[in-house]
């Protein structure tokens, strides 16, 4: 077994970290406080090639394989402290762009991918509703056929990027069909009559990534905007989730690496009782645990990305998402504790990582659901 990365992969990860360090954190403390998304940073990421990285070259993307994409996102997470920006990028890449590449028609790809890759368009998918979260396929948003159109009515909640989105992949159920065979997905442009952002949502963390509730009131969507055949919604969702669960926390690997280095430095410098706090075993143990979590999470994510490239990675993706999210929260708490009161202060930026990490055990399937998937794949 060869664990080494190619020189090109290592260079790309380092280049992403350098780029991020230079450009992306501007005014972060203020933007975190007032929940502001940075379109400049979004465009800078597009210029660097982030949004298009895993998209095939013939569709205008970077043509990188998934493992390489993960490495770049890890570099981005290391250099950039704005976890919200990285979350918004991930939401667009895994829940909209990759499903479009896999399930979209040529016309759909040409209509949306160039803009999404260039940073001119912003998008996401909308599945969750007020009454259906983990049980996503119980959605109440309805779609009915009307000649060469579909008419969609319903409410979608907790939708990332919603206030700034140009196009949303909306999942809706055909009445009188089963949960599993009766969901379809549609590309809905946000200027469609009947489409509105009904409520902006304020979050605990990831505050630079905007979120809102969406209402679709008899939105008429042309047939050519249906993605995949009728009833393919579950396949599209599962495909997106497999990639998302494998890759969405690659940035967290970078953040955890940065956290670890910050903690080591602080534990060597900060003195109490006449010696560096790192000399106290209780503090040193925390640093060792942070290292252990980071290395294990990294292996799980790399493995899930690699397996996904080979074909199927359902269990590996669930394991990577479950472990990394819980590791990120645990290490973020350790980082605050090691820094004492300073770590609890807004100005340190250390508490922001903790607030940003907490959502990771909820989005893309909660930790409980990842455990349901894992035990199910094991035959229970």
């Amino acid at each position: 077994m060869d664990f080494s990365l190619s020189e090109e992969q290592r260079d790309l990860r380092a280049a992403a970290a350098d780029f991020a360090r230079g450009e992306l954190d501007r005014d972060l403390e203020a933007r975190d406080a007032d929940s502001t998304f940075s379109r400049d940073a979004w465009r800078a990421c597009a210029r660097f090639g982030i949004q298009g990285l895993p998209i095939p070259k013939e569709l205008g993307g970077g043509g990188a394989d998934i493992l390489t994409t993960v490495l770049v996102m890890e570099g981005l997470g290391y250099g950039c402290h704005d976890n919200g920006l990285i979350f918004s990028l991930n939401a667009q890449m895994w829940s909209l762009e990759l499903p479009l590449v896999k399930f979209g028609t040529d016309a759909q790809k040409q209509a949306y991918l160039p803009g999404l890759i260039a940073g001119e368009l912003i998008g996401v998918h909308a599945v969750t509703e007020p009454e259906s979260g983990s049980d996503a396929f119980s959605m109440r948003t309805r779609v009915e056929r009307d000649n060469d159109c579909y008419v969609i009515t319903g409410t979608k909640q907790y939708i990332t990027n919603a206030p700034i989105a140009d196009v949303v992949l909306v999942f809706a159920a055909h009445p009188d069909r089963s949960k599993t065979a009766g969901i379809s997905a549609f590309l809905v442009e946000t200027d469609t009559p009947g489409f509105s952002v009904s409520r902006h949502l304020e979050k605990m963390g990831l505050r630079t990534s905007p979120m809102a509730e969406l209402v679709l009131d008899e939105c008429r969507i042309p047939e050519q905007n249906r993605v995949g055949p009728e009833g393919a919604g579950m396949a599209i969702f599962n495909s997106a989730m497999a990639w998302e669960r494998s890759c969405i926390l690659a940035g967290a690997l970078g953040a955890m690496q940065r956290q670890l280095e910050t903690c080591v430095e602080y534990a060597r410098e900060r003195r109490q009782f006449g010696q560096p706090i790192g000399k106290f075993q209780a503090v040193a143990d925390k640093v060792a645990d942070m290292y252990l979590r980071l290395e294990a999470a990294r292996l799980l994510i790399y493995q899930a990305a690699w397996l996904g490239q080979q074909g199927s990675a359902v269990a590996a993706a669930a394991a990577a998402k479950l472990f990394t999210s819980e590791a990120w929260i645990a290490s973020s708490l350790d980082a605050v504790q090691i820094h004492g009161a300073y770590g609890y202060m807004r100005e340190s930026g250390i508490e922001r990582d903790l607030r940003d990490a907490v959502a990771s055990t909820i989005y893309s399937g909660t930790s409980e659901i990842q455990r349901v998937i894992l035990s199910g794949m094991l035959g229970l």
């Binding site: 396929f137 599993t180 065979a181 393919a232 579950m234 396949a235 599962n238 199927s312 794949m377």
Partner: protein, 87 residues
């Protein structure tokens, strides 16, 4: 031949209730026998059992609506594999 293997797997591993009858036409998706997770487990089983890679775009109702549809899908994949192998 694949229909017997698929029927057996769904009865034994997914339904797990001898009282529930399953035939080749039973609507697996419409009747909720295959939910999202069961479908993923079945796909992993098919990949391992029949040595094929099931693409995400192929996991649609047309191919997974019944044991018969699954069996037809597996046979078509086998045909494709042997045609590719022959060229």
């Amino acid at each position: 031949m694949s229909d017997g293997i698929i029927r057996n797997y769904i009865s034994r591993e997914i339904i797990r209730d001898r009282a529930v009858a399953l035939d080749n036409e039973t609507p697996l998706l419409e009747e909720g026998i295959l939910d999202s997770l069961a479908l993923l487990r079945l796909v992993v089983f098919i990949q391992e059992q029949f040595g094929i890679v099931v693409e995400d775009v192929e996991i649609v109702p047309e191919n997974f609506a019944s044991v018969e549809a699954i069996s037809r899908y597996i046979d078509s994949r086998g045909d494709r594999a042997s045609r590719l192998g022959a060229t």
